[in-house]
């Protein structure tokens, strides 16, 4: 008799547990306010990434199209993947002395793993994270970027000894 009782007790407890599960899904079915989907291309205008979001490495330029990079190459050295190439040139400054300056700061986004070592190691704080995340392109060569804008110059250090 005990086994018969257990047979029916099993059925009842089983059905009850199934009902508990159906209550959960039923609850969410009846509360469409819980929907968490973000409609991405539509919410582009309101979508704001966090300030620290690692989208890509950019070089900060001020309003005079000036940046801080002096082409020392420490970021290139620190990059574990070879995603940064520094091409420098010699340029005469106002006293006529030849000074090394940055020609092209080449950044291969396709090789970057966003480890932040270049930004942390830059002695003149020239690099920064950009928040742009829409990197999809049809041609891989487009992922190779030149970070210093054309025509930009190095920012002069203000009255430093």
């Amino acid at each position: 008799m005990n086994s018969v009782f257990k047979y029916f007790a099993d059925i009842v407890s089983g059905v009850r547990s199934l009902c508990a599960g159906m209550r959960v899904t039923g609850k969410y079915f009846l509360s469409p306010g819980e929907i968490v989907t973000e409609q991405y291309p539509e919410n582009r205008a309101t979508l704001k990434m966090e300030d620290r979001f690692k989208g890509e490495v950019i070089m900060t330029h001020d309003e005079n199209n000036q940046h801080n990079c002096n082409g020392c190459g420490i970021c290139e050295l620190n990059c574990p993947n070879g995603a940064i190439e520094i091409i420098t040139k010699k340029e005469a400054d106002e006293t006529g002395k030849l000074v090394r300056s940055i020609d092209k700061h080449v950044y291969h986004l396709s090789m970057c793993t966003f480890c932040e070592l270049c930004i942390k190691s830059c002695p003149s704080n020239a690099l920064e994270w950009g928040q742009n995340f829409e990197h999809a392109v049809f041609d891989r060569s487009k992922l190779t970027k030149v970070l210093n804008q054309p025509g930009s110059t190095i920012k002069k250090k203000e009255a430093k000894s």
């Binding site: 159906m22 899904t25 929907i35």
Partner: protein, 362 residues
């Protein structure tokens, strides 16, 4: 008592009369067959697409998502877009597959589900064939589909497919019993196997209410067993995505895959319609005892709305199961049938026969 304004018999009768007066009777009958066939084909395709859309929407809301919403208003055209994609896809021939059976299988599956529609009473006076053994016919025809599944698994020359097909065979043969027994309980109560008679017998109340708790139990058993018969979750072992990738239709592509897909959803519609017809009164409106005003208001709702409302309620229940429960294992699936559902439905049938004999139902 029931309003006749929504009856389709005037419309169908008029068509019949018109055709008969215009041409020879044999030609008229033939033309009627063609018309019914074409109407059902269109109905079948559209309903199948809508059910796929419905399932995607229901599961999306259950899972806190939006679901398809890009193609057309609320994504209504999404499944049509999918259909066009499937039509354009390449039909990949399988090396060493049994070509004839491989191509035959999807058609068997889809024909089996198509035939069953013929006997369904959609509304008052809207039924293609009113067999006097209607339930028997539907049961017999709908279980033909398993032959197609077995053939698909066997002829694909794939190990995954074979395992899936064998599982499906074992599953459907087992669960046919419970479906039959739970339907039998209503046949006992109504005293007929003719679907129109069964619907008429529920004019003063649906069997699920009139048959006390016993009819409810057989409704639950019917729901579980028919979910298993249509290979839907939590009994989708024949497909078992996480185990067998896609089970019996692993090797199918393009429109042949779409046939399996469509047949699965139409089978779901058929079992839901049978459940609605037998337990929930078919196209009969909801009547409560002697509340004459309430009953009159209910009568104003067209019978076709009642039928589809009830059917989609059952379909929703089946979808709710699928998106809640984990899948069973094959031995547990058979255990559930032979150890729980079959004894319970046997006892249930005996009890129903007893109350039918004593006239203890309302």
């Amino acid at each position: 008592m029931i309003l006749d304004i929504y009856s389709f018999s005037t419309l169908t009768g008029a068509i019949d009369k018109g055709l008969n007066s215009a041409m020879a009777p044999w030609l008229a009958t033939l033309l009627e067959f063609v018309i019914v066939g074409v109407v059902f084909l269109i109905f079948y395709a559209l309903l199948g697409l809508f059910l796929v859309y419905l399932e995607r929407k229901v599961c999306a809301v259950i899972q806190n998502r939006i679901g398809p919403n890009r193609v057309g208003k609320w994504g209504l055209l999404q499944t049509i877009a999918d259909l066009i994609k499937l039509l354009m896809k390449e039909l990949i021939p399988i090396k060493n597959a049994d070509g004839f059976l491989f191509n035959l299988a999807p058609f068997i599956v889809i024909i089996a589900s198509f035939m069953a529609i013929a006997a369904l009473p959609f509304a008052k006076g809207l039924q293609a064939m009113d067999f006097n053994i209607g339930i028997f016919y539907v049961m017999a025809v709908s279980s033909l589909g398993v032959i197609g599944i077995l053939l698909a698994g066997w002829s694909s020359n794939s190990k995954y497919s074979l395992i899936g097909a064998m599982r499906s065979g074992a599953q459907i043969i087992s669960y046919e019993l419970s479906v039959g027994l739970s339907l039998l309980s209503i046949v006992i109560l109504s005293g007929s196997m003719q679907l129109s008679t069964i619907v008429q017998s529920q004019a003063d109340g649906w069997w699920i209410f009139k048959g006390h708790i016993l009819a409810f139990i057989s409704f639950v058993i019917f729901l579980i067993a028919s979910t298993a018969e249509t290979n839907r979750g939590p009994f989708d072992l024949a497909e078992a995505e996480s185990e067998l990738t896609a089970g019996f239709h692993t090797e199918y592509s393009g429109i042949k895959f779409a046939f399996f897909f469509l047949a699965e959803y139409m089978n779901m519609f058929i079992v839901a319609a049978i459940g609605a017809t037998l337990f929930l009164g078919g196209w009969m409106p909801l009547h409560i005892g002697h509340w004459q005003e309430f009953n009159n208001i209910m009568d104003y709702i067209p019978s076709v709305v009642w039928f589809f409302g009830k059917t989609f309620f059952v379909i929703y229940l089946i979808m709710w199961f699928k998106w809640t429960f984990p899948r069973l294992r094959i031995d547990q699936l058979l255990n559930l049938e032979w150890k729980y559902l079959l004894p319970l439905s046997l006892i249930n049938t005996v009890l129903i026969a007893f109350i039918a004999l004593m006239g203890w139902y309302f």
